[in-house]
Symmetry: D2
């Protein structure tokens, strides 16, 4: 399998590392709007630095990883689909559901494999949790609880253009809810406030939020997000079912415990998302390449990308109107 990577920022570099580690897979070329970034990554990985256009039209590349800014995804997906390349695209596919639908059309017409980069499905803990559910360990799912807090808030510039917390942060949890509920949620209720940084309210966003999703059969999912957690990257999920409870706890920095007069003290959760989800990123790309190789449709698909976006849109509307919204 011959791979090209578009975008040589933090995420692009992670995917490059994953490609290098996979057997029978070759990183052929990388591209970036800043050519020096592409040059540097190409040198480190023994690949070519090319332009995005060259990668789109290359004969020696089978599959392309899109790790560029969201605004560029739409055009790249159309071009790559026309060129018949398999596509791995970082989330979100686009900020507009209508435009994602156009991407779906392009992908369908070209009949190419497409994976949306919801990496958390590939976290070994969350993947195992889902597998145990699907194996019936806890019976029917009844309540899903997702607690997600980032170590620290993003810069104001990011907040201005991200589409808001529900679209840039909680979207991961919406995908996880769909992954675990075993049924599509059809109603959503959202609340939010700016408790970490009042400036966020002036920018029209929230930094603390909670959502309730329900499904037609009455399953419930509660999600809460905060842009700040002093104790590391807090990523916990639990699923209450008819026969038991499954939960995946945080990944901590180490196993050392100190016991003193003050009590028992153990390490904070891992802080940096690339470290926390290191295995998830690796497994995700492996799954994509394996799907392309075996000509099966990758999961999460482009439809999964659309559905999470639709939930994020509905969450934003619910937060703004104070009303429950049909998804």
């Amino acid at each position: 399998m011959r791979i090209g990577i578009l975008g040589c920022g933090r995420i692009g570099r992670v995917h490059a590392g994953s490609v290098l580690a996979l057997p029978d897979t070759r990183l052929v070329a990388v591209a970036d709007a800043i050519h020096e970034s592409a040059r540097a990554l190409a040198d480190e990985t023994g690949s070519d630095a090319r332009t995005a256009e060259e990668i789109v039209s290359a004969d020696d590349i089978d599959a392309v990883v899109i790790a560029t800014p969201t605004t560029t995804h739409y055009d790249l997906i159309h071009a790559l689909a026309s060129a018949g390349k398999a596509i791995f695209c970082e989330k979100p596919i686009d900020m507009s559901a209508a435009r994602i639908r156009e991407c779906i059309d392009a992908v369908n017409r070209a009949n190419i494999p497409f994976m949306t980069g919801f990496n958390r499905r590939f976290d070994p803990n969350f993947a195992r949790l889902q597998r145990l559910i699907s194996e019936g360990e806890i019976g029917n799912v009844e309540i899903v609880t997702i607690l997600s807090r980032d170590p620290s808030p993003p810069p104001h510039d990011y907040v201005r253009t991200s589409g808001g917390l529900f679209r840039d942060m909680m979207i991961h949890d919406f995908d996880m809810a769909r992954f675990l509920l075993g049924e599509e949620p059809d109603m959503i209720h959202a609340v939010g406030s700016a408790l970490v940084d009042p400036e966020v309210a002036r920018l029209g966003d929230v930094d603390t939020a909670a959502v309730t999703l329900t499904t037609p059969s009455g399953r419930i999912c509660q999600i809460s997000n905060s842009r700040r957690a002093t104790y590391g990257y807090d990523q916990r999920i639990e699923v209450h079912g008819a026969k038991g409870l499954l939960r995946a706890g945080n990944v901590h920095q180490n196993t050392v415990e100190l016991a003193t007069r003050a009590g028992y003290q153990s390490a904070p959760a891992k802080e940096f998302f690339l470290e926390r989800y290191e295995a998830a990123y690796r497994n995700e790309l492996e799954s994509f390449i394996s799907s392309v190789r075996t000509v099966t449709q990758p999961v999460p698909s482009i439809h999964d990308g659309l559905k999470a976006q639709l939930i994020a849109d509905a969450a934003t509307e619910s937060w703004k109107t104070g009303r429950s919204v049909q998804i």
Copy 2:
């Protein structure tokens, strides 16, 4: 301090035990609609078996514990208030907020001490959690998460008359939310379904439910309830604040861990609420008696009883209408 107990069922007996264990406190008399129950408890505790009326009018009793069925509370509170007795009343005070307001008037007119039996505030874990919040350990409270699942559903007869899950079960969590949020919640959104037992839907109730509360300053509380938990009585609370996270986990049956090929296995949570909250019941009555003795108003007060009931009413309305409701 000379105590009378009205109601010699499960809870009345627990309170009798607490009275016996307290120094300088004497259990004078007990009463029950079934006189044999009163007789039996009186014999075990070395107290008198009397009628409720005799206890209300007794000269040798300073304070009375009401542990009778909810429908009798209203009349007993009025009679005891007229008689000038200090009152400890099991929750809920009454199913109707209007009638609770009338009880408040009676208590105010009589100027007597009154405690509402929200025992969980006196659980050593939850009490400590609240104390650490009030000492500023996690800064401003931002998100409260309450997970509460009963070991097994109540009989259908109970469901028919209990006022519904939000009033008979989640009311404890509403009181806990008020206890921990540091601000009165003013909006509520509730969802619910009958997933444990479809018959519950036909009885007009739910057995699985989730609520979001918000406060004027934007603090958020998420609560979820289930009438069934295979792994014991599941009672967990966590509070996310500006400077950190506090959580109180379950109380397990023992500390033994078995590690085998299948992994590490530890004990279920304690199952029975009287065992799980043993210390809470003891501490609660001790706090009541100490307040009466020092002539300070007991907490949780009769107003706390009313406020939790009002939230439960609003939750019920929100669940039925699908709309957020102002409290």
Copy 3:
């Protein structure tokens, strides 16, 4: 069952509480060298204050709890045996194995029930651990590890007369080793030092010690003791077997966890032995009385008391000589 208690100190009072809580059991009388102590406990418990002699010869007492200083045990056991009373005796029975053997003769001649107060066997956690072993959950026992640390060292006066750490503190662990190994240990090796308090060395004792026991079939038990633990009363046991591992962890003060930049902090272990072993003391006396009632020999027996003492003697010799000692 009619009970008398000899010794109204800390432990005597605990046993009085246990007797009061047991059904069909009556605390008839208590005695203490300091008559006011007996008087006070008698008043609190509604029993008589008598002399030890009166209790020994009383017609209205079936079983007696010996909770007096160790030096008095020998005479009391002989007197009570002659009087045909069932005996519960706090450990150690006596500081001299030869004198314990004489007590055994007296008990055998009188054919009375006798329990040695090794309360830890009745701790719900350790009892469960042993039950799981005997049910075969981990197959044959191979390695037992016992970690035992007291919250703080005893006064020098106690050290002078206690017989030394191996006899006054580790003796509990020797009994636990016998309880769990499933085979009598026949060799011991001990080391010790005075690291907590150098004065202890001048008093001829140690405050930090470690022992290895082996059994004829090659099972191994490692024990370590310290007279000081800043983080509470540290009492942990684990048993490694052919099919798995069992361990019983500490009992903590509460379940509250605080997560901040510094990590996750939870409560110290319970500090006070009467609180840590509250259930053990209660269960122990219940077991004694149940044995007396059903005319079965109580366990741990007087022989268990002797055997632990013999191991403690051997440990002391091994520590002093630096050689392994046959038990």
Copy 4:
């Protein structure tokens, strides 16, 4: 830094991976008695397949990793020392302390950097534990407890030539004891038995063993080993000090917990030593190369290799004679 690797088995391949991941470090050549193994690793890593002799005398290699069978170490160390190469040597350096001393002479004469591959010092958990000790978090060290159990016993062939459990397995724990005690142990007492596999006894070895080490000032270390653990690779260390307790727990396969009627079940410990100590192997080689680069003596040094071997010899003697042995 230009690296050569001798031995392309499991461990040699791990070190090759570590070299590839290090910046400014190049894997120049690999060698193996089975040339195809060298060929295969060379191809995967873009390095040369050479003979050991060629690597010893190569001009384009600065440092060499010895990952060949123990019996070859002596000659290779002498040859590499003569050639002035920096040496990283897997433990044990040699089965004979006398021959290790000759290696020390050769290394001293050549004045080359030499690291002994006690990888566990570089495990992030154990390294952090040691750092916290050295920063005074628990005051003076008093009792070190090391519990080490392999997932499954080695083949009989290995047992025949390994030098015995104390030399091939517990040697890691002896190095860890020296790493943590803060003082050289001077006395040892060892016991052992063949409980996992009786055949091991016929081969003159044990599969279950326990050791007590003491230091001149009275610090104590207890170690126990088993060749079998059903629940994963069990590697736990705890250190009791004057001011508190430090412990490093196992590394588990995932964070998922399943709660059902049977209790709470979580994942076994990681099974495979290369996975369990993945970070340790990486950090170890990074430390070696950093020492060579900065011309500081690597730690653990060749003397650390000798000292652990001397303790293993003393343990073996103590086990055979039943006597405590001076180290």
